[in-house]
C-alpha cells in the first residue's frame, strides 16, 4: 500500500515535471523532523516482520535470508557501517567504503538474524516512543519462553533520507559500540588493511 503511494507520486512527478508536484510529493522533506509516531510506525512494522519470521517455522537458512531483507529495509546500513569503521573510515577510498558497506550488511544481517532466531516461540512488543537528542527512541519488550522479559530499544532517525533505525540495544548492549569493537579487532588482525578487513568480513558473522 505504502509502496503504491510512493510509485504514484513518482509517476506524478515524472508526468508533470513541475516544482509544484515536487512540493506536494515531499511536503515536509526539508523542515519537519521525524515524529515519535512515525518512528513508532517504523518499529511496529519492523517488529511485525520479525515476529512473522520467528513464527514462520522456516529453516535456519531461510530465516537468515528474511532477516537480511528486514535489516536492509528498516535500518540505515551505510551510517552503521561507517560508524563501526570509526576513524579508519576517513582513509578508506569510496570504492573501499562501498565494498565494506556491502559486506557489512551481509555480516550484520546474519549476526543479528541469529540473535532474533533465538526469539523463536516468543515475541517482541513495542512499548512506546520518545524524542531524545535529535532522534527517536522506541522501546520494546522481548518475551521469550522460560526467560524474564527483556528490553530491546531501537533508535530511529530520518537523516538517512527516510525513517530508519541506526542503533539497537538488547538489554543495554549497544550494537554500534559492540560492532565498532569487533570491526576494530578485525582490522587490527589485518594490521590495519581495509581490503583485508573486507575480505574477512565475507565469511564473518
Amino acid at each position: 500500500m505504502r509502496n503504491n503511494t510512493v510509485v504514484l507520486s513518482r509517476r506524478a512527478l515524472l508526468a508533470t515535471g513541475t516544482a509544484a508536484a515536487m512540493l506536494t510529493a515531499f511536503p515536509h522533506h526539508a523542515e519537519a523532523a521525524l515524529s515519535e509516531a512515525q518512528a513508532r510506525t517504523l518499529v511496529d512494522a519492523l517488529v511485525a516482520d520479525i515476529n512473522q519470521v520467528i513464527a514462520s517455522g522456516k529453516s535456519e537458512q531461510a530465516m537468515f535470508t528474511e532477516f537480511a531483507r528486514i535489516f536492509g529495509r528498516y535500518s540505515d546500513v551505510p551510517t552503521i557501517a561507517r560508524y563501526t569503521l570509526g576513524a579508519d573510515a576517513r582513509r578508506a577510498s569510496p570504492a573501499q567504503m562501498a565494498a565494506f558497506t556491502k559486506e557489512f550488511q551481509r555480516y550484520i544481517s546474519v549476526k543479528y538474524g541469529k540473535r532474533f532466531r533465538e526469539f523463536i516461540g516468543g515475541q517482541i512488543e513495542v512499548q512506546g516512543a520518545k524524542a531524545v537528542k535529535s532522534f527517536i527512541e522506541v522501546k520494546s519488550l522481548a518475551k521469550l519462553r522460560g526467560q524474564a522479559p527483556f528490553e530491546v530499544t531501537f533508535l530511529v532517525s530520518d537523516k538517512g533520507g527516510r525513517p530508519l533505525f541506526f542503533n539497537l540495544f538488547i538489554e543495554g548492549i549497544n550494537m554500534l559500540l559492540t560492532e565498532r569493537t569487533e570491526i576494530g579487532a578485525m582490522l587490527d588482525r589485518r594490521k590495519g588493511s581495509i581490503d583485508g578487513l573486507i575480505q574477512d568480513l565475507k565469511t564473518a558473522g
Binding site: A87, K114, E118, F135, G146, Q147, K159, G172, I173, T178
Partner: protein, 256 residues
C-alpha cells in the same frame, strides 16, 4: 529524605562497617584518561589468561553438556527448571531489594514467591508472571553496592565464573550468604537452589548458543567482545538506562 532512605541509612552504615571499608574502597578507580570507552582493565594480562581457560572449558565441557541437555530435555521441562531455580533464589533477591530500599520490588517478589510456591505447586510453574504479569525484580549484592555508591572497580574475568568487576566479584561472594533458604534448609535440600540454577545455566547455554558461540568463537577478539558486552549489560542492569550511551552517528560519523 524518603522513608526508605531513613531505613536504609543505618543498614548502610552497619553493612559498610561489617564488610570492612577496605573491601569497598579497595575497588581500583581509573585515573584521568585511564578508561577509554568506559573500560578500566588494568589486569588485562591475567584476565586474558582466565578468558582462554574459560573458553577452553566451554569448548570441551560446558557446551557439549549443554547441547546434550538441550536435546534430551523438552522445552516445557526447561521452563520448569527455570521456574524452580528462580523461585529458590528469590528470597536472596528480596534481601537485596530491601538493602537497596526498593520496597516496591520487595513486594512484587514476595507476591511471586507466595503465589508461585502455592498456586505454582512449589515453584514448578510461574502463575505470578503468566496470570498477573508480575515478573521478578532483579537485585543482587553487586547492584546493592552500586546503589550504596561503591565504584565499579576494574574489569575482571574470573576462572570458571566468567566476566565480572571488582565490585561484582565482592557482590557474588556476599550473595553466597544473602539467601535465607541457605540457612533455613538442611543439606541436601540446602543445595537444591544451586543445583536448579546450574541446570538452568546449562539450559541457557543451549538456548542462546548461537549468540554465545558468535562471541566466544567467531569474534576477532573474543576477550574484548565479552568484556564490552558484560560491562554494557551490567551497567544497564545496575543503572537501568540506555540513554548515557546514545551517541549520534549522524553528528559524529567517525565515532571519535
Amino acid at each position: 529524605m524518603s522513608i526508605s532512605d531513613k531505613v536504609l541509612r543505618p543498614v548502610k552504615v552497619f553493612c559498610t562497617a561489617t564488610l570492612g571499608v577496605g573491601l569497598l574502597s579497595g575497588c581500583s578507580v581509573p585515573g584521568p584518561g585511564g578508561a577509554p570507552d568506559g573500560i578500566h582493565d588494568p589486569y588485562e594480562g591475567s584476565n586474558r589468561r582466565a578468558h582462554a581457560f574459560n573458553r577452553e572449558l566451554d569448548r570441551t565441557i560446558v557446551n557439549p553438556v549443554a547441547q546434550g541437555y538441550g536435546k534430551a530435555v523438552d522445552d516445557d521441562l526447561k521452563t520448569v527448571v527455570n521456574n524452580v531455580a528462580t523461585n529458590l533464589r528469590t528470597p536472596g533477591v528480596m534481601v537485596n531489594n530491601l538493602l537497596q530500599g526498593d520496597l516496591g520490588g520487595f513486594g512484587k517478589n514476595l507476591y511471586r514467591v507466595v503465589i508461585n510456591s502455592t498456586l505454582g505447586i512449589g515453584g514448578l510453574f510461574d502463575p505470578a508472571a503468566e496470570i498477573s504479569d508480575v515478573n521478578l525484580v532483579e537485585a543482587d549484592f553487586g547492584m546493592t553496592l552500586a546503589r550504596w555508591g561503591a565504584p565499579e572497580g576494574a574489569y575482571l574475568e574470573l576462572p570458571l565464573l566468567g566476566p565480572s568487576t571488582e565490585r561484582d566479584a565482592v557482590g557474588r561472594f556476599v550473595d553466597l550468604f544473602t539467601n535465607p533458604l541457605f540457612f533455613i534448609l538442611d543439606p541436601p535440600e540446602r543445595y537444591s537452589g544451586i543445583v536448579a540454577q546450574a541446570f538452568d545455566r546449562v539450559g541457557d547455554r543451549e538456548q542462546f548458543s548461537d549468540t554465545i558461540d558468535s562471541v566466544l568463537y567467531d569474534s576477532a577478539d573474543s576477550y574484548a567482545q565479552t568484556r564490552l558486552i558484560y560491562l554494557q549489560n551490567r551497567r544497564f542492569e545496575v543503572g537501568g538506562d540506555d540513554e548515557d550511551q546514545y551517541s549520534d552517528p549522524y553528528e559524529d560519523p567517525y565515532a571519535q
